[in-house]
């Protein structure tokens, strides 16, 4: 099946090449979306052999994913995987993400760090738990993780899902879309490595407040 891996990246020049190479060794179609980085993320991504798309100004991860997904659909993708640039995920786990879709079991799979055996930092753990609770209250979907960048989407579902949130709230947006469209989904346990780099680069706790604001008012 025609598989595309989308990697949104913002100022990830240190690690993007490594991430791309590790994915590319297993899946040839890697699309990196450089979201207006100030460093040479774009050049690094191209050198590593990915199709590199460049946002000339920063529009947020939601916008970068939208660009990547739409591009993949344009190029005839049948399954689209979204993958973080910062090296938190294992490329070898892409296989178990796409299997349920290939088997026609569901339209979309969502990676869950809480189904697997991951050590999630204390505060992050509680904020995510709160987000999971709110998502359940709003959408009625029982999920174990909500802001996980590891997903696989069938092209058919990818065409229907409208990511309206440009910034970080897109992750909740996708789940709202699953509920609205009645898509069949499945959570798959994934490994999330909290390296020094990913913690430094990752979402700060204050980001949660921004997400709530975006969800309420946008």
């Amino acid at each position: 099946m025609n598989l595309f891996v989308i990697i949104p990246a913002y100022n990830e020049s240190k690690i993007i090449a490594e991430t791309i190479r590790s994915v590319k060794s297993l899946y040839p179609n890697v699309v990196a979306v450089d979201d207006g980085s100030a460093d040479n993320t774009f050049e690094e991504a191209e050198k590593a052999g990915a199709v590199a798309l460049r946002h000339i100004i920063n529009r947020g991860q939601g916008a970068a994913l939208r660009t990547g997904i739409n591009y993949a659909i344009l190029k005839g993708a049948e399954i689209i995987v979204t993958f973080d640039a910062d090296g938190q995920f294992e490329p070898s786990e892409i296989e178990k993400m796409i299997k349920p879709i290939r088997d026609g079991e569901c339209d979309i799979t969502l990676g869950s760090r809480f189904l697997g055996k991951n050590k999630v930092p204390f505060l992050k753990n509680w904020i995510l738990k709160l987000a999971i609770f709110f998502t359940r209250a709003i959408t009625g979907l029982k999920l174990t993780d909500v802001h996980n960048g590891f997903r696989a989407i069938s092209a058919k579902a990818g065409m229907k899902i409208k990511i309206r949130q440009d910034r970080m709230a897109h992750a909740s947006d996708i789940i709202h879309e699953i509920a609205r469209l009645g898509l069949k989904f499945k959570e798959v346990p994934v490994t999330v490595k909290y390296t020094d780099y990913s913690i430094r680069k990752g979402q700060k706790i204050s980001g949660a407040l921004k997400i709530i604001f975006d969800l309420m008012f946008k």
Binding site: L53, R59, A63, R66, T67, Y71
Partner: protein, 106 residues
């Protein structure tokens, strides 16, 4: 009263700016007329505050000044809403443009 002088000067300065913006084509004729009549109306209320007392009594608000505050608040919130909606639309359009540029030729 002193407050009337201060407010009238402020209104005149704002109106002058409105005229300048209209002359340099930053605001349309429609917008110019809308804002100008608003400032004139506010000027009239400042000079003849009795008008608001009459209106307030008619509407059952009590004091004229209260009526002005209520009306202004509603207006300001509505304007904020309009600006917010317009900005959202602009953000969406920008993202769309950026996406198209990114995909071009790839």
């Amino acid at each position: 009263m002193l407050i009337q002088y201060i407010l009238i000067i402020a209104i005149i300065l704002i109106e002058l700016q409105t005229i300048r913006k209209f002359r340099s084509n930053i605001v349309s004729r429609r917008e110019f007329l809308f804002w100008s009549s608003l400032w004139v109306a506010i000027g009239v209320v400042v000079l003849l505050p009795q008008i608001t007392v009459f209106l307030a009594n008619y509407l059952g608000v009590g004091r004229g000044a209260d009526l002005v505050v209520y009306a202004s608040l509603i207006f300001v919130f509505y304007m904020i809403f309009r600006i917010f909606a317009r900005q959202e639309r602009m953000e969406k359009n920008i993202s769309k443009i950026i996406e198209e540029i990114a995909k071009k030729g790839k």
